[in-house]
């Protein structure tokens, strides 16, 4: 049985390698790795909870500003969300409590982002050329004449 000693020696070596590998793998590979593919599945849940949603949508604004929301919904800006011109809900309300005033931008720049005539906009979209508009000067507030929440043309 001289050869058996060699067999056992090699088998022992193999066993040591397997044990080192499994122990090493347990420590080095994250728990959920490979659950659904070659990635760490736990990260999917982490991404889903990475931060609370910042934008609430116009409906969330309606919780306090129902009248305003109704007025907007009846006008030409009905498809423009409140947060487009103001700011994300999270800057105004957090956990149901008001934390800061909502920014109100009354500048020409805000309106111009959508309504200044520039190359690229669909022709049917209402746009103005400032020079041909009431002898307008850049910087003059559009909202002196147009109601921003329900503009009439």
């Amino acid at each position: 049985m001289e050869s058996a000693r060699h067999v056992f020696r090699v088998l022992f070596l193999l066993l040591v390698v397997v044990v080192i590998f499994s122990v090493g793998r347990t420590f080095l590979v994250p728990k959920s790795y490979g659950a659904y593919g070659p990635y760490r599945f736990d990260n999917v849940a982490e991404q889903a909870a990475i931060r609370p949603p910042q934008h609430g949508g116009s409906a969330s604004c309606g919780a306090c500003h129902a009248e305003r929301l109704k007025a907007v919904a009846a006008g030409a800006h009905r498809r423009v969300g409140c947060e487009v011109c103001h700011a994300p809900l999270a800057r105004h309300v957090q956990d149901g409590a008001r934390i800061a005033a909502m920014p109100v931008d009354r500048s020409f720049t805000l309106c111009a982002r959508c309504h200044r005539r520039i190359e690229g906009r669909p022709a049917a979209f209402p746009q103005i050329v400032l020079a041909q508009h009431q002898g307008g000067v850049e910087g003059t507030a559009c909202i002196d004449c147009h109601a921003p929440h329900s503009p009439k043309l």
């Binding site: 959920s32 999917v44 889903a48 949603p53 487009v84 520039i118």
Partner: protein
Amino acid sequence: MDETQSDAPAPAPQPAPEPVGRREFLSNALRLGGGVLVFLAGAPALGEGPVAEGYDWTQHRYAYLIDTEKCIGCGSCVRACKAENGVPDGFFRTWVERYVVSPEASHVDSPKGGLDGFPPIQTPFTPTKSFFVPKMCNHCKETPCVQVCPVGASYRTQDGLVLVDAERCIGCGYCVQACPYGSRFLSPTTHTAEKCTWCYHRVTKGLKPACVEVCPTGTRQFGDMRREDDPVRLAIAHGRVSVLQPHLLTEPQCFYLGLDKEVR
């Protein structure tokens, strides 16, 4: 052998079994060992739970629809994305490009990704058409970015998003180069790859991505292909949609309506 044995005057004693040679033994042992290692490596990990409370990711498969003919280039989406996801200055998870085209020449610009909207533009040629094209990660089905990731940090979820595990990412930037749409960048703060997540923290709560939420013209739409009556699913099924760079066979899940041939 049998014939020679039967001819022999006396039955030869059974030959002793051939001893296993060292070479053969070692090669068999290695094969067995290798097999064990492969088995261990492939063993599925445990601990699969829901992605979020009340959210089953097998019940959704998202798709995005962009109607370029409606886009007015206001940049609300770019600003919303920045606010929603804290995108670092100078980098964009979504951006808007302006194409000014004539039969002879074309000009593309995207000042600050469209973050502050677009200024009037003068081109050295007389444009015959011009339009805006919002762009972002296409969340491809056969995405090159996931294929090149050497550490398994990029992956595609069962509900159809391509995400980056910042904890695994080593910031090698292979995926940034592999993406044919330029949708990824290395974050200057974390030094890991960053990209559009279709606002996974929102969609898993039943909300729309921030860019879709704020789009004032309905250019950007987000839908669920597993919902029979989903407007985006119907638009993709019935409308004439196209994708960016279809020749690359990446199977983007961002579909475009009214895409011009100039757009890449």
